[in-house]
Subunit: 379 residues, 2 copies
């Protein structure tokens, strides 16, 4: 008999909230979990079987950590890929595969991958010299993105005219046409090593314009079925083209003309899937474990309308976190609290999330607005 | 502002599967968890913030452990109550309260409590001398129970006639009239310090006659509403009479005449509530935390039909546990696996449980029978 999931050691690069929720699920399978994180007080610290404080971008640290595990996964893309390549060569399972992480780490390569595979995405151009920013191939205004290390809105700027070019990033970038979108949506797709593929229902996102973080997510979407099916097909096409093992979050725009354009990929559990813990028969975390351990994929259907609200650090508060209004929101039926175990808050830091479940969609939204205004992370 | 749940330390006496599932839920509230268990490899070992290997029945060990926590709870009744009384005197919160644990530890006192509070229960008699076993006050056959330390069917024997009396327990016992019951049922009730009380829907249990363990549990019950309401009222009456803070599992019999008789109490999360994790809006673990931290109680309604199947060690297998058939059962929609992190299996040891969710009750039962026959814990 091959080694079973309960006998295997799962190494996780990154010990933040995504790793934390993955471990909460992994406990159900007796999985032994090993976590590497540069923060000595990372959210996973106390719930992993083994926690190592170290850099996830340093070759030796990642390599030596990976040697201790049977299967290695990530909760953030910014990891040392060379170490993962070496571990793969030595027979370790790395899911998502190192080549997928490498591709997704560089938004330039990601965009070229979309183009080569007929995945709809906004027109773009890799920036090779400063001249590219002003030579008129892309008329102002446009979006300028760092090719690497951008996340949660960091590494993205709007270039309105030539005067903005002075402040442009000093690292490799790409230009993207400004998309006039109606809605940001996401589909999470899972693929196991057998090649089985399943998508979660499409969800709609609302962003906090100031923090540029997902603040409000509605599942499932109420867009026409034809649009949902198109979005889900795009996600499946990408998973197939990448030949990925694991889950993949596909963030997309729906334009005012009803077109769907792929924005970005994340080859791991993602903020746009947190509501699956209570809102769907299988959660994104459970599905990721099933995918990387090559188990049958779970039932992705929605149980109920589910709204996810990020709990962000209040403006003007910096220090040991306190949660004001917790009792009030827990008095409402169908409100689920997920705090991430971060000791310190700062403005807009992701400190947790709330999921609101209600069979009535309007009621769910109403409750979500209330809890969002009621729970405050202060210091 | 009073100390918040995320700033408090929860001490748990016992680090088995009940503590483990309580911690899985506690993670969502940033709770700091401390666990004391006599088994150095207890299921909670790796997921508690602090794990102490020590006796939960030794005064000094429990007292010194309790000093480190803000709130102390239990996952098993057999703990040192004197230490908990002392901790209460010194201002620690102990939920359930030490007096409740003391009462429930002794089935004789438990039965007298039922009698004094007009709680329906089978006729009984405390055994004061060996003569009581044969003096005919209770005609054969009857049930003989150890007053203390019985659990999972241990400490209970049927006395058919005078010849069985020779083998009777050599410790304080009580005699109970043999109940000809139609069904064993349970209601879990929660009560917080504010005095708010909520019950989970009544569930039906099926026992493994050989192991005398709950093997199969169906939620919610399909008994007439009048019977369910009566059972839930009995549970609430007991919670009120006990003035308990926390959750309380009330195991009952429904007799062939439709009477309800209370069998036993467990003042903690209980095997008859495991299906609430997926089957109800709030789980018994979430509800226990809400109760002991005096938060509003959660919504106990069922989301779906839910069947709970205990995963017991296979007969003839003793050693490091392997789970045969896991892949097969995960290919069925609505099957949830909870393994308890126990390294070694032995016949009938509780190694985990499965929950099966299906909107169609008959289908749920059919799936449950299949998964029960398919997943085997072998060595």
């Amino acid at each position: 008999m091959a080694k079973q999931i309960s006998e295997l050691k799962l190494g996780i690069l990154g010990g933040g909230q995504l790793g934390r929720m993955l471990i909460q699920e992994a406990i159900n399978y007796n999985l032994t979990t090993l976590v590497l994180d540069p923060d000595a007080d990372a959210p996973c610290k106390h719930i992993a079987n083994y926690f190592e404080n170290g850099s996830i971008t340093d070759y030796d640290t990642v390599y030596n950590f990976g040697k201790k595990a049977d299967i290695i996964t990530i909760e953030i893309e910014k990891v040392n890929v060379e170490a993962l390549e070496q571990l793969e060569k030595e027979g370790k399972k790395v899911f998502p595969q190192s080549r997928v992480i490498r591709l997704i780490q560089d938004k330039g390569i990601q965009k070229q991958f979309f183009k080569e595979n007929d995945i709809p995405t906004a027109p773009f151009m890799l920036v090779n010299s400063k001249d590219d920013l002003t030579n008129g191939k892309f008329p102002f205004p446009y979006i300028l993105k760092l090719r690497k290390d951008g996340y949660d809105g960091k590494g993205v700027m709007k270039i309105n005219d030539a005067s903005d070019v002075e402040n442009a990033f000093q690292a490799p970038t790409l230009i993207e046409e400004l998309v006039h979108f109606e809605k940001e949506i996401a589909v999470i797709v899972a693929r196991n090593a057998n090649g089985d593929v399943k998508t979660f229902p499409m969800v709609e996102m609302e962003f906090n314009p100031e923090a540029n973080l997902v603040e409000f997510l509605i599942s499932p979407s109420t867009y026409p079925e034809s649009i949902q099916e198109r979005a889900e097909k795009i996600a499946k096409d990408i998973a197939a083209a990448l030949n990925i093992t694991g889950i993949l979050a596909v963030e997309m725009f729906i334009t005012k003309h009803g077109d769907i354009l792929v924005n970005e990929l994340a080859p791991r559990p993602h903020n746009s899937g947190h509501q699956t813990i209570e809102g769907n028969y299988v959660s994104q975390f459970g599905q990721h474990l099933r995918a990387i351990f090559n188990l049958p994929l779970g039932d992705t259907r929605s149980i109920s309308n589910a709204i996810m609200v990020n709990v962000l650090g209040e403006k003007g508060h910096d220090g040991v976190a306190k949660y004001d209004g917790l009792e009030k929101i827990l008095s409402i039926d169908g409100v689920y609290v997920h705090l991430y175990g971060k000791k310190y808050t700062k403005p807009f830091r992701k400190m947790g999330h709330l999921t609101i479940i209600d069979q009535n969609r309007e009621k769910a939204i109403e409750k979500a607005r209330f809890v969002q205004q009621t729970l405050k992370v202060i210091s």
